[in-house]
């Protein structure tokens, strides 16, 4: 390949291979394992998974280019995650750190979570050291800034948030190899934030939107969560859960997977109370694991729907 040897410097062009097995690089980094795990454990989120695969593929290709002596200057991997509450932004951030670490893009692969409180100081001269402290901790890994729009308070022009943003921008630009910054928050507020901070928006290459979950996905998520805690649903309970999800989605303050988790927590409480109240005292492992329709139907969400049927089965 004449083009390759032309770009390579004469010294080490000798020991550079002419072709490279891309699959070997991918295999070596175990990235498939992480991506498959992501597919298996995260339900739904198709656009997010697609983007992650793209990034993983690009990083593997960059590695191959590097080994063949082509220009392999890194692309900026700063990201913004927008989506409603409970759509898995934090979980995905943790996974991304793993993927980037496997592919050798970040050196350590740890995640440092920060909010406005960790970055912005109380008085003049307090913000810069605070922000730098967090940045230093995140070096070699991923800095995850949740609810990033709180950094910028347009109503107060002397707010120190602007200072934190400027320091962030500087490090995001100059030390791209040292850390990856992920901003997360609700869609419309993040859009406002980016509009008022165009510098921030232009330095973030990947804007990933997390869609709301469909009822089926919520059902699958709840089952998987329950399985993780060694709980299971019987058939009646499954039907009740589907009804519950359909009702809950329409209610205010619906927070996707987080709401499901809370519902599951409450069902576990009711199940414990039911077993506790069972006077016969005999129980087995199966009974301790099974959530029944009664545990779910006692929920206020379903009770409110059918006031005539407001019985208590505890």
């Amino acid at each position: 390949m004449p083009t390759l040897s032309a770009t390579a410097t004469t010294d080490d062009a000798m020991d550079r291979p002419a072709s490279i097995n891309l699959q070997a690089i991918v295999h070596e980094s175990n990235v498939h394992e992480v991506l498959d795990q992501l597919d298996r454990e995260l339900i739904g989120l198709a656009p997010v998974k697609r983007r992650l695969r793209e990034i993983a593929a690009f990083l593997a290709v960059t590695r191959a280019r590097q080994q063949l002596g082509l220009d392999a200057s890194g692309l900026s991997l700063h990201m913004s995650f927008t989506g409603n509450p409970g759509t898995g932004k934090t979980t995905v951030a943790l996974r991304i750190a793993q993927i980037l670490h496997r592919l050798g893009y970040v050196r350590k692969g740890h995640v440092v979570s920060a909010t406005r409180d960790d970055l912005v100081g109380q008085y003049i001269g307090h913000t810069a050291p605070k922000t730098k402290e967090v940045l230093k901790k995140a070096m070699g890994g991923v800095l995850f800034i949740d609810e990033a729009y709180y950094l910028y308070r347009p109503e107060n022009e002397r707010d120190y948030g602007q200072e934190a943003i400027e320091i962030l921008l500087q490090v995001m630009e100059n030390q791209r190899d040292d850390l990856v910054v992920i901003l997360a928050g609700y869609k419309n507020r993040m859009d406002t934030f980016f509009r008022s901070n165009p510098g921030m928006s232009s330095r973030i290459a990947h804007h990933i939107d997390f869609p709301d979950y469909a009822p089926d996905e919520l059902f699958a998520i709840t089952e998987q969560m329950a399985r993780g805690w060694n709980y299971g649903f019987d058939d009646d309970a499954r039907a009740a859960l589907r009804e519950y999800i359909a009702a809950r989605v329409r209610q205010p303050h619906f927070a996707n997977a987080r709401s499901m988790r809370n519902a599951l927590d409450r069902a576990r409480l009711r199940q414990a109370n039911r077993l506790f109240g069972d006077t016969s005292g005999a129980t087995d492992a199966l009974a301790l694991q099974t959530l029944t329709a009664a545990d779910i139907r006692a929920s206020r969400v379903l009770a409110a729907q059918r006031p005539d049927n407001n019985h208590n089965e505890d």
Binding site: L135, K136, K137, A138, M139, G140, G141, Q175, D178
Partner: protein, 144 residues
């Protein structure tokens, strides 16, 4: 040291070698972090060997995972005190107190005049030796 070989202060690790490059410093910090040691940055303009306690530049950096953050701090210390001695110390806390495990210079003044040796005769013609840096004859802040 008193003969001021090569007009260079020789204190701590690697001090007889040429100055470490940033890449080499990074590797040393990597080693320290790999052992769970906390890294601190200190500076002084009084290089007397008995001057053990140098000024701290910021807090010792606990719970850092990557040398890039520490190098960032080293560079900001170099920028603030371009003509001081700056050293990096790694502290080991496994014994319940912080024990320095590594210590090396990462910045030195442009000109290092070295040390003078003074002999003082005491009672019974006993001779005491005293060394002092030529630089410390001047007041603090104007030494280098």
């Amino acid at each position: 040291m008193m003969t001021n070989t090569g007009h260079r202060l020789t204190q701590g690790q690697f001090s007889f070698l040429p100055d470490l490059t940033d890449e080499q410093i990074k590797r040393q910090i990597e080693y320290a972090l790999g052992n769970d040691w906390a890294v601190g940055i200190e500076y002084t303009d009084d290089p007397h060997p008995r001057n053990t306690y140098w000024e701290m530049f910021g807090n010792p950096m606990f719970d850092l995972r990557d040398p890039a953050g520490i190098l960032m701090e080293i560079n900001s210390c170099r920028k603030t005190f371009p003509n001081h001695y700056v050293r990096v110390t790694a502290f080991d806390s496994t014994q319940g107190w912080e024990t320095p495990r590594m210590s090396y210079l990462v910045n030195r003044p442009k000109a290092e005049p070295g040390f003078g040796l003074a002999r003082e005769e005491g009672p019974g013609r006993q001779v005491h030796y005293r060394i002092s840096s030529y630089a410390t004859d001047k007041p603090e802040g104007e030494r280098y």
